[in-house]
Amino acid sequence: MGFLIILLIVVAILALIWLAITYNALIQLRLRVKNAWAQIDVQLKRRHDLIPNLVEVAKGYMQYEKETLEKVIKARTQATQATAVKEKQDAENFLTSALRSLFAVVERYPDLKANQNMLKLHEELTSTENKISFARQYYNDETTRYNTSIKSFPTNVVASTFNFKGEELFELEDLAQKEAPKINF
């Protein structure tokens, strides 16, 4: 009898230790997801800040393309106002496509293309776009790891007890990019 009690106590202690370790691991994973999201936010903000300058430079050369410029401005306003993940995602995707059409138009203006400020802004925006996509990649990686761990056994027991909820992935809605993946494993 005494032996059984000791065994039970040992098992209980082990279970508690496991619980603590799992809980901490989950917390850590969740923090990493939060951190990754903050990274995306920083880059999105940077893109929003660049757009007024871009429009300012382009304005002087593109009197006949008001529509394209206005579309970019509108998309930017929408994007800055969005708060929820899903909403943000849509607004940012819209902004990306608006910017892409703007740069397609810029191609038609050689003077504007060779403008020093334009070149700088183009490089900055390209870099920011890349940063956004890398930040998104990192966020999605971390989120997938987190989501996987809260759904797999036995961690899911701890996760559901302490109310860890899965996070949404930040996905691309742009069809052109979806259809042409860089690699196919």
């Binding site: 070149l119 870099s127 860089k182």
Partner: protein
């Protein structure tokens, strides 16, 4: 990321301990051998009966203690400011914020840092036309990734990103720390070894051999052994880590094709960097000196080279992308070039010519401010502004009056640098992505020493056929010119930067274009078309060498 920071920390301490242990053992063995030899010498002098035992534990302990101290001192001195020392040795410099290639490089590094989830990496550029990249890091967690100018010129953005991803992989996995430590610990030896072999050569020629030579010889042998061991140690860490860094790069950029392309381009080009000791090769993406060993796959070559053969690296990457070398070769497109007149970007626009001046009984102009002063503007000169249309004295105009006052006060007029040929202010432009000064009037270009090397390796623009003709002409007439000009030193122009004299001569014997060079600040003045001719010759030489 496959490595969390904790894992990296763990690996760090493991490597540090292993290397330190190796140092202690190494110094212990050396000290013990030297001690034993000394004893044998002494023993042969002494009476054999009184001689102490050849080996004793106490002595060994003392020797060990000494070895420990030496190892510690060596460690402390070698690992202090590791990064700065290596950067100095490689001649790496910070990127130029005005240079568009450097800006792209900086941005790409930042992008990759974000992909790793927030590792901080500083970037550096090696002003060399070779193709290579390296990563170093230290205990504090500082990391530097550097690339050569040649690499920046030859790779496109995604290829560069893949290379940076590879280097960031070294940093993230902690490999770069171990290679940096080993390089700074044993880089010293290779220098010592060189010096020692010279000394030995001198002594042996002098035929005054004795105990000293024996010691030197022993040290020489021991050093050679450590050289070998450190080399092996490096390879052990380095070879595997190259594959691993390739894998991390693919993980970060999701683009194995670009990495394969980059590796292919680097392997086909010249990777050399000049006077860099062999012991530094592990920090580079591909060994700076070409050796056949690295390209074969036998067991010995596997043991004896720091980098895995390019073939197997490519094979792994291409396998990931379901592609093969043939497709890869076809996929590498030459860089997009524009005609030269469209490749120039003006940073500062030319100042307006808005002044007319009455001189020599006629109205002349319009001129810029700087030009007016060259024409001898005085307060009572009659001038007129083009868009205003009425005539006044120079002293009546606010801007001119202020400028004249400045001149009276002995201050230089702020018109910037002046063209040495036509005395007009030079404008700043981006030529092949690098900032240079150009005269609007005569088309001459003033270039700093380091910018010349950048312009020569970059190939953004195409040249009109007149440049090709001029270049052929230069090559044809150059041997004759050499004979005529060898002893003639002509100072004709004044350097716009330092106001020193500029010396007219050939750019180099390999590229015999005539240029004006300032002795003091090393700026070079190219008359119209001279820079283009030089570039044309350089590009042609490059094409010829890759054909072979």
């Amino acid at each position: 990321m496959p490595y969390s920071f904790i894992e990296v920390e763990k690996q760090k301490s493991w490597i540090i301990r292993a290397v330190f242990l190796f140092l202690i053992i190494f110094y212990f063995l050396v000290a013990e051998i030297i001690w034993l030899i000394t004893k044998i010498f002494v023993l042969s002098e002494l009476n054999a009966a009184k001689a102490p035992a050849l080996f004793s534990l106490l002595e060994a302990a003392v020797v060990f203690f000494v070895a420990f101290i030496i190892a510690f001192v060596h460690w402390r001195f070698s690992t202090r400011d590791m990064i700065e020392k290596i950067l100095n040795l490689l001649g790496a410099i910070d990127p130029d914020p005005k240079d568009s290639y450097h800006q792209v490089f900086k941005n790409v590094v930042e992008e990759v840092c974000i992909a790793t989830g927030g590792i901080k990496i500083r970037c550096c550029v090696i002003p060399s036309s070779g193709l290579n990249a390296f990563a170093v890091s230290d205990f504090k967690g500082d990391a530097v990734v550097g690339v050569t100018e040649g690499l920046l010129a030859k790779l496109n953005r995604s290829q560069l990103e893949a290379v940076i991803g590879h280097e960031a992989g070294h940093v993230a996995s902690g490999d770069s720390l171990s290679t940096t430590i080993i390089c700074s610990l044993f880089g010293v030896y290779s220098v010592l070894l060189r010096g020692l072999s010279k000394t030995l050569g001198i002594i042996s020629r002098g035929r005054r051999a004795g105990g000293a030579v024996l010691y030197l010889l022993i040290i020489y042998i021991v050093l050679s052994i450590t050289q070998g061991v450190s080399f092996l140690l490096n390879m052990f860490i380095s070879r595997q880590s190259e594959y691993r860094a390739d894998a991390i790069s693919v993980r970060l950029t999701r683009n194995p094709i670009s990495l394969a392309e980059a590796l292919y381009i680097i392997s086909r080009g010249w990777r050399g960097l000049g006077e860099i000791p062999n012991s530094f090769s592990p920090i580079f993406i591909m060994s700076p000196d070409y050796s056949r060993l690295e390209e074969s796959e036998s067991v010995t070559s596997d043991l004896l080279s720091t980098h895995p053969p390019i073939k197997s690296r490519l094979a792994i990457l291409l396998d990931m992308a379901h592609s093969d070398v043939k497709v890869l070769k076809e996929g590498i497109k030459p860089k997009y070039k524009v005609p030269i007149e469209r490749g120039i970007v003006e940073i500062k626009e030319e100042p307006k010519r808005e002044w007319l001046i009455y001189k020599d009984n006629s109205w002349q102009g319009p001129f810029q401010l700087g030009e007016l002063f060259n024409l001898g503007l005085s307060p009572d000169s009659w001038i007129s502004k083009v868009d205003e249309g009425f005539i006044k004295h120079a002293s009546e105009d606010e801007i001119l009056n202020a400028a004249l006052r400045d001149k009276l006060a002995g201050k230089a007029i702020k018109v910037g640098d002046i063209c040495p040929e036509c005395n007009l202010p030079l404008g700043e432009i981006l030529y092949e992505g690098t900032p240079v000064l150009r005269c609007y009037y005569c088309g001459g270009i003033l270039v700093g020493q380091d910018a010349v090397s950048r312009i020569m390796v970059r190939e953004d623009v195409t040249f009109p056929s007149s440049i090709a003709k001029a270049a052929e002409e230069v090559l044809k007439t150059y041997s004759m010119k050499m004979r005529l000009d060898r002893f003639r030193v002509a100072y004709e122009l004044i350097c716009p930067k330092c106001k020193g004299k500029m010396w007219r001569g050939l750019f180099s014997y390999g590229y015999p274009v005539e240029i004006d060079r300032c002795d003091r600040c090393r700026y070079i003045w190219f008359d119209k078309d001279e820079l283009e001719t030089l570039q044309y010759l350089f590009e042609r030489r490059g094409q010829e060498s890759t054909k072979d």
